[in-house]
Subunit: 156 residues, 2 copies
Amino acid sequence: MTRSGPDLALLLLGGFRSLVDQAVVELEARGFADVRPVHDFAMRAIAAGAGNTSELGRRLAVTKQGAAKIVAVLEERGYVAREADPEDARAKRLLVTPLGFEVLGQGEEIFDGLRRQWEQQIGRDQLDALEQNLHVLVGDSPIRLDTPGWLAREVG
Amino acid sequence: MTRSGPDLALLLLGGFRSLVDQAVVELEARGFADVRPVHDFAMRAIAAGAGNTSELGRRLAVTKQGAAKIVAVLEERGYVAREADPEDARAKRLLVTPLGFEVLGQGEEIFDGLRRQWEQQIGRDQLDALEQNLHVLVGDSPIRLDTPGWLAREVG
DNA sequence: AGTAATAGACAACTTAGTTGTCCACCCCGA
DNA sequence: TCGGGGTGGACAACTAAGTTGTCTATTACT
């Protein structure tokens, strides 16, 4: 039984790590090596409407230069393409390639699978309550991704 | 209501971030600037018996050189002292100074306070269940600290 | 039209770790 | 008892993933 504040924080971190580490390993096993959560999140942001690098930077809460580096990696891997923006000669449009969507889909599938494992371990009601409570505590916008350093780390 | 695997991971990360960010800010307000979770964890490990730098590295899952850098910071801040080990001429003993224990104590107090806030928001029973369930899911040793990159980040 | 803001490139720096190498010292076994 | 393998620690070079800072080209405001 945990009762201390620091332990609660560690428990949350542990839960996150547990899911993400397994997901990264499983993604690699499926043939997508070197995909980190930050890549996944970046692609999701692009697919969700971050049309250029500067906008992506804002959504990921990194500088546009930082975003440009992420995009460079994604482009090199073939997950994201860049093309001239017909409506703005300064900008280059970002788009997720079919291969990128493939990674995205697999990632979602893996996370869903892990969630189902948790559901089996503690029961549907408990997991629902856990999510519901965290939602209340964290607020309506839990998607703050400004932890790219850690998200990008190699999994031990 | 959250039902997707990725969202669950984000929720856990959000919860952790929420606690840690507030804790860092509050610690700073109490006069301990530039203290990051990784410093706290390192001091805790030393206090708990990590008697030298190599051992600290093992407990934090970083290389001994990495541990040495953390120790250097803690020593410079006056939170940790090093002295010759009378039983091993190679080693230098690590010990947490009174000032270090002060930080540790304040940190614990702050986290406990944040936990009480959560308790008020969702109720004692719900928080107990949340902790209990996470404990089951994460396992008995939730204290895996090998995320120093992110733990050490400046809070936005 | 003129000025401010924005997209993006390039370069240098920062942080928090990593290898890699070396030496001094401990320990254990022939 | 000595001799070799393992360990603690220092120093140096490298890496990853971001940051500022500066520059140009282009767009948007008024």
